[in-house]
Symmetry: C2
Subunit: 310 residues, 2 copies
């Protein structure tokens, strides 16, 4: 038997090499090499090509090299009954916490206004910042990674809350759950962060209605998925002053097209989908652990619930 | 007897009101009101006018409403034998820690390069960030405020070191002391932060020689004093690529003149001397405590050593 590997983001084969090192008894083939397709029992993938699954009739599991499986669930060749295992926090939480803390400090210390003043060569001494304890940061999503982000913000003195589908508990963080609690969650926020999985229920959640439930001058951080954001609603809310700025890592189309209105918007900061790359060593270790679970007929951590979409 | 108050930064009289509230038995006069100048025994000041001290012949102490007393020491009317008491960390440490953490994250997460890529509408996926534990941040100065900054950076996972005139100890932070250790301190730094008092020994310390001792691409954060920085040396080091950027809060001339080259330099971020304003309540409490010490003939904390200059 063998395992088939494909990643759109591992040009030097570092993750593949680490997996082979951690699993010396396994045969791990690198697509397009496949040997006997019927002998392949697991696939390890990120953004596999459309014909990737053709002829892999004996797969028991697909292991995702990312925490988000929205793209994989839409893959035209993926059997709807095949179990999918996604990465949990494999070190992405740490990087994500840095990214969101950066955006939070940028908003808290009024950098959108100060950078505009700088463009105008204006000494904006009138700008005031509130104490971190009175600066409310809300996180949509309280999964493995959102939780690490929430804890980091809390450790830095911010008033942190989170919102999720089902009730959660995070020490020091006010947790809201369910659609009915969304407005109460949004009303006091100076910063809103989207850390949700992309599902039919969360697609377009960052929209006009949500922005208007925030206080005037709120700031948006989106390191989730581009499809969470209704891009024109963001532009409108910025231009109307309802929002003071946005830090965006993900976009409806990636790479962000050169002609897109976001690039030169003076209140938008763009990063090219690198808020929280999956670290090679920890990702490989987590995938190896899952494969060992599967070999023992145990349920691997991170098994995707297809009805929930994550 | 009475106390004379003047602040260039308290237009609404909030600090004055708080001082009167904390010291109900004292007569605190607001300059230019002075009553009988010979009855004034202490002065509480920030940037007092040149004639402020005229006729105040019975002063025992001057209390500074700031941690930095470099301007006060240069005041033409100040007697060279008069004891000066400066603020210790009266809540400024917290604000300063936010400011320096912001600048550190900006450098660590490669935002100078990413913002330039954004201007060019370029999807800069090639940008890599190292782990915080391998990102070296050095703080010039390890006083009350520098220490709070160092601890906050350490708590966020950075490799932090500090350098000071005399040996210090800060938990989790590598401490260097004295001129001979300066190069060893500078050599590994990705970020250099200036938190020194401004004295004859530190004036112009951020200069060409110091920049060239840093690794190529280092980042400068200066929330100290404008006169710490040789401004043309910074411009040269940025333009030669020796430095990747700078976050500056203080300048040789403030407000920064509209024609200054810093305003539109694409690798310089400017804030208008508001990294760490002295909070009203805590500043008033610390000054009240000092006045009570003085009334009991005790040495107040924060007594300035004029030979050291802080």
């Amino acid at each position: 038997v063998s395992i088939l590997y494909y990643s759109a983001g591992d040009p030097e084969g570092r993750l593949l090499a680490k997996l082979r090192e951690l699993l010396p008894a396994e045969t791990i083939l690198a697509w397009p090499e496949r040997g006997d397709p019927a002998a392949i029992t697991q696939a390890i993938v990120w953004l596999p090509p459309d014909d990737f699954f053709d002829g892999l009739d004996n797969l028991t599991h697909v292991l995702s090299i990312a925490a988000g499986v929205d793209n994989l669930l839409l893959h035209p060749g993926l059997s709807p009954s095949l179990p999918i295992v996604r990465l949990q926090d494999a070190g992405m939480g740490e990087k994500m916490a840095e990214y969101v803390l950066y955006g939070t400090l940028h908003a808290h210390r009024q950098m959108p206004d100060l950078l505009l003043a700088q463009r105008e060569r204006r000494w904006a001494r009138e700008v005031r910042t509130r104490s971190a304890a009175k600066f409310n940061v809300g996180i949509l999503g309280a999964g493995a990674i959102g939780r690490v982000v929430a804890e980091r913000l809390h450790a830095n003195g911010y008033a942190v809350s989170c919102w999720s589908r089902s009730p959660k508990e995070v020490p020091g963080v006010t947790c809201y759950a369910g659609e009915a609690a969304l407005n109460d969650f949004l009303n006091p926020l100076q910063v809103i962060v989207c850390m949700l999985p992309l599902t039919d229920a969360t697609r377009g959640i960052l929209n006009k209605r949500l922005f208007s439930a925030l206080p005037v001058g709120a700031y948006v951080i989106n390191p989730g998925r581009g499809a969470h954001l209704v891009e024109n609603d963001l532009l409108d809310a910025l231009d109307q002053g309802q929002l003071s700025g946005a830090l965006l890592d993900v976009f409806a189309t990636e790479p962000l097209p050169a002609e897109h209105a976001f690039w030169n918007h003076e209140r938008i900061m763009i990063t090219p989908h690198l808020a929280a790359p999956s670290p090679v060593r920890q990702s490989a270790e987590q995938i190896a652990t899952s494969l060992r679970c599967i070999a023992r007929n145990e349920t691997p951590p991170g098994l995707v619930d297809r009805d929930q979409g994550y």
